[in-house]
């Protein structure tokens, strides 16, 4: 087997599960997730087989998958995604200037919540938040790695994580103080 093929196959074995998992968490639809995971690998192979180099498979796969997911949402015209993307990260609000340590405090406050319920609540969040929360807390990406994978700045990523956690908390405890 040619070296490239060996490496690609090894990368498949290594990342297939986590990519599928990520797709499922983003789409809440196992069938579609399976299709998109397959599509991710096929596209990546097309890229590699025509002579392009992939230095780091993991972010490459995630980027490809992310683009496919965004297309998926656009197809189904879910307005919440557009809304969130437009209004959420557009202007500088007081919230966006919050430092990252507030996130740790949030995490600590969430300690009394059940992880299982939290996962169910995740499905109710808009996609941009689902994405960063899943990457951060389930796949274990650092904010820097997330930034690389979804092609946003680290700042945007931190803010999105923070907001995502807040919204998650609100979903799980309707009577929570803001």
């Amino acid at each position: 087997m040619v070296d490239t093929e060996k490496q690609f196959t090894a990368a498949f074995e290594r990342y297939a599960d986590e990519l599928f998992r990520h797709a499922t968490l983003r789409l809440s639809d196992r069938e579609r997730a399976l299709d998109l995971t397959q599509e991710t690998f096929l596209r990546a192979w097309a890229y590699v087989s025509r002579g392009e180099e992939i230095h780091d498979y993991r972010p490459f796969f995630y980027r490809t998958l992310h683009n496919l997911i965004v297309d998926e949402y656009r197809k189904h015209k879910t307005t919440s995604l557009e809304q969130m993307v437009e209004s959420g990260e557009g202007g500088e609000t007081v919230e966006s200037l919050l430092p990252a340590d507030e996130t740790n405090a949030l995490e600590a406050a969430m300690d009394r919540f059940d992880g299982k319920r939290a996962l169910a609540a995740l499905a109710k969040l808009a996609d941009p938040y689902r994405e960063v929360l899943a990457l951060r807390y389930i796949e274990g990406f650092s904010p820097k790695e997330i930034a690389e994978s979804i092609e946003e700045s680290e700042n945007v990523v931190s803010v999105r994580i923070h907001r995502g956690l807040k919204k998650l908390r609100t979903l799980m405890e309707p009577e929570a103080q803001s």
Partner: protein, 372 residues
Amino acid sequence: MKFTEEFKNEGLRVRLTVQEKATLRARLSERMALNPASPLVQSPYHFFIFNHVVLQRTFAALILFVFVAGSGGGTSYAAQTALPGDLLYAVKIHVNEFVEIALATTPTAKAEAQAVLAERRVEEAQDLASQGKFTTTVAEQLQLQLDEHVAAAQSLTEVLEIEDPGAAAQISTQLASSLAVNDAVLSHLGEQSPDEETKNTSRKFAVRVRMHATAAAEANKPVKESKRVVLERRSEPVAVAAKAAKVMSIAATTSEPVPQVAAPAPDEGSLSGQAVAAQLKARTRLVLGRIHALSLKDEKLAEYVQTVLASTSVLMSAGDTAFGAADYDTAVVQFDTALQSAVELETYLKAERRFDGALPRVGDIDLLPDND
């Protein structure tokens, strides 16, 4: 953090079924067969010409011919110390190691070859770490290679276990022990590096190596089996004594003849246990021989070596005694522990030699992992 742990664990439950993964794999293979990688695709190490399969095989055959003819290949010898990033690294991998694997014809030799290659990848990582050149990109590639070789060694040993459990056992022990020490060495070199990227990459890579070391030890079925038997037997004397006491008390109250306490049935696996013990002993002696042959300048180090050798020789004697008494399971455990000690020591000494001064002096930090 409780929340984040639970959240993560719940999330990790989502996974592909075996069926689903197999389907994905099949579709991907199909596509890869339909659209193969262009032969002029650059290898990660930019020595693209060697990706051309035909050329590779021709060159390898040439090298093999030269090898066999005994005149030695200049290029391939120089390539032996190449690191990822060097021009000659591609020769090392695609020619030298290609030949190494090709020369391994028996199942034992094949498993051995893969284990050696796995160890070599870790040594390369160490060299890069000590030079501060261990980038994330290179680490990814090395890790893929390492994973492959370990997986290959593991599956080959699994098959080998059926026919030649002794060979399988010594390869597994050797691999687990050398990886464990090399993981510690890599961690240390990474920590010492002034380069941030090298530091982080070394740490991550070392974790991976440690994982493989543990897995290799876990997969060592012949030794595990003997350990199990020995442990079980330790609780047996109590059971046997209790049974004997019961029999005696029955005899005291009746006039019936005392039934004999049945002697334990001969161990079914005793034949293979004998072979395993013998092979583990042989390998240990081999490694010890190599250690003895090393001349050590540092007195403190020489002292340390003597101490380890002394304890190893105690283990060997215990093994011999058990072997002589046909207690092959105990012999296996003793010889295996001796082999672990010997391999750990040899691996440390080899690393010491390569990174003279960079490794902690023996006695300052305990570099060798604990024996479980």
